[in-house]
């Protein structure tokens, strides 16, 4: 899997990678001793220096999540997986709605919020982080660097390509080169073993993959054909087989009765989930968003936030029948205490457009009662005055 493409095109980064074609590499593998900083004059030293600069850029990026509790939570997961290597790793949470994580050879770990949002529990997040830690521990990037065939591709990435455009400042170089299939396979297996050792049920890794495939399939169903656009489908024609192989490898490790820590993850993202769901909708990948929100609302029917965003997705998609679907989702959300007050505004908009003025007034009234200082309060008050 070309990880660079993955990041550029969208969603699914390491999850595709999460699944090697076979998973027998690295069996009986033991965690290596901590990596020493390489001498500056060496290939590896040059690579580290480059990654250090990327990391500096990332530290200053406005897209970096600067919530110590959240970052600490994710870093603790990294540490549980990386064991003795923990002191060598810095974890950065990057605000971006795409499914992505990567780890640079100098110990810079990036986890994007679109990945955290999609994980059902801590174990699923750990599955992707564990895979990335696997690349790091096995020093795959160095092997890539020394592989003559990949040198020119690598140089163009290290490049001497000025980093501009939408990915500036996200430390993209760090994940900017492709690992071989062998490396992906090895990282998969290491990831599963690290999960098991850290007390996570390895089978959750297979679920990450299942969910992603469902999202991509939903996008394909909605847009007609995703295969020409999804790197994942284009390069992984037998993904079902891989899913099965990862699952088999996970089952072989056992430990299915370990707690996947669903509540811990939910708590850690509580104050951010709403903003991340807003980011998700801005991708305008309605098929994927509907699959995600369908999964969230099914998993917890009392989740008013997810129900509200399900309504938002239908409203924005604005396809045949979506207005009715949006209304139904909003009405369901409005009855739940966990729904954001904006659900009443959304209902107000629909009632106003349909000329249902008493309902409009009630809905807008509830919104303003909850958010009297809302940025659009003046606008809404003007709607309440009009039409008697």
């Amino acid at each position: 899997m070309e990880r660079r493409h993955f990041i550029e095109t969208c969603g699914c980064c390491s999850a595709a990678a999460l699944l090697g074609p076979a998973l027998r590499a690295a069996q009986g593998w033991v965690v290596p001793p901590r990596l020493a900083r390489p001498a500056p004059k060496t290939d590896e030293g040059g690579l580290w220096a480059l990654m250090d600069r990327e990391e500096e850029r990332l530290r200053q990026s406005p897209f970096l999540m600067r919530d110590a509790a959240l970052t600490g939570y994710v870093h603790a997961i990294t540490c549980r997986l990386a064991q003795a290597h923990c002191p060598d790793i810095r974890t950065y949470v990057v605000r971006s709605p795409y499914f992505n994580a990567n780890m640079a050879p100098n110990g810079m770990m990036q986890v994007w919020t679109g990945l955290i949002l999609r994980a059902e529990n801590e174990a699923q997040l750990a599955a992707v982080i564990g895979h990335e830690v696997g690349h790091y521990l096995a020093r795959h990037s160095l092997e890539r660097l020394r592989d003559a065939k990949s040198r020119s591709a690598f140089a163009s990435v290290l490049g001497l390509v000025p980093i501009a455009g939408p990915l500036a400042g996200l430390g993209v170089l760090a994940g900017g080169f492709a690992y071989s299939r062998t490396h992906e396979r090895a990282a998969d297996q290491i990831g599963l073993e690290l999960m098991a050792a850290a007390g996570y049920p390895p089978l959750e890794a297979a679920k990450v993959w299942t969910h992603l495939l469902e999202e991509l399939q939903a996008e394909k169903d909605w847009t007609g054909d995703a295969s020409t656009r999804s790197v994942l489908f284009a390069t992984h024609p037998t993904e079902k087989e891989r899913e099965a192989k990862l699952e088999a490898a996970a089952r072989a490790l056992g430990k299915a009765d370990l707690d996947p820590q669903a509540q811990a993850l939910r708590r850690a993202m509580t104050s951010w989930r709403r903003a991340w769901l807003e980011d998700e909708l801005k991708r305008r990948k309605f098929g994927e968003s509907l699959a995600l929100l369908g999964r969230l609302t099914a998993a917890d029917p009392q989740d008013g936030e997810a129900a509200y965003f399900l309504g938002e997705t239908y409203r924005l998609r604005a396809s045949q029948g979506d207005a009715e679907r949006a209304l139904a989702a909003y009405q369901k959300a409005a009855a739940l205490p966990s729904a954001p007050p904006e659900v009443h505004r959304a209902l107000g908009v629909l009632h106003r457009k349909a000329g249902r003025l008493p309902e409009m007034r009630e809905a807008y009234g509830r919104y303003l009662a909850a958010r009297p200082e809302a940025e659009d309060a003046e606008m809404i008050r003007s709607y309440l005055k009009e039409g008697g």
Partner: protein
């Protein structure tokens, strides 16, 4: 980054324009944008020529990385804010609907302003007269993705006989926004509609 590269990048990103564009200085006085929106200016504005957009105009005072004034004139039902070329087929194009409320229009603008992955935040939305109509005024902030510059913006919009008229100014939060804001407000106050020829 080389300012020329930045400018070109911006033009491609924001305007989707592939041929080199040129800037043409506007004379002070009345300017009619695409024959539909008349405004008065104090000079020192340049208009991007060669945009090939019948309903979209881009102006600047100090150059587009530093300030941009966009006009969208007479956007009709089902049309997008700008002419969309080479849009990936899996990305639906946000379109104007004549039953849109102010919030929907802001969202439409937001989808245009954040299509490069920028972070857009609405700061204020209130009723306002614009172009002889009861319209609205909004303020927003945006972290421009290409260079992570923090921008501020102000927009005026109105729907007249099912057509959208929108004027949006955006500049870096530091210095440039405040520098031009009074001039932009004056332009908004001076705006008058012209009926379709």
């Amino acid at each position: 980054m080389n300012p020329k590269v930045l400018l070109l990048t911006l033009l491609v990103v924001l305007v989707g324009c592939t041929k080199p564009a040129t800037w043409v200085g506007l004379a002070p006085g009345e300017v009619v944008v695409h024959e539909r929106l008349a405004v008065r200016i104090d000079g020192a504005w340049s208009r991007l020529d060669g945009l090939q957009e019948p309903k979209h105009d881009v102006w600047t005072s100090d150059g587009t990385p530093l300030d941009q004034l966009h006009f969208h004139t007479g956007i009709a039902e089902g049309e997008s804010l700008v002419v969309v070329k080479d849009r990936p087929a899996d990305k639906p194009i946000p379109r104007f609907r004549k039953d849109m409320q102010a919030q929907d229009v802001v969202e439409l603008y937001e989808s245009f302003a954040s299509r490069d992955g920028s972070v857009f935040k609405l700061e204020k939305l209130a009723p306002a007269r614009f172009a002889d109509e009861d319209g609205f005024r909004f303020e927003f902030s945006r972290v421009r993705k290409s260079d992570e510059v923090r921008m501020r913006g102000v927009g005026y919009g109105a729907i007249h006989h099912g057509e959208l008229f929108l004027m949006v100014f955006e500049a870096p939060r530091i210095h440039y926004f405040a520098k031009h804001l009074p001039r932009v407000e004056a332009i908004a106050q001076s705006a008058h509609l012209r009926e379709k020829a």
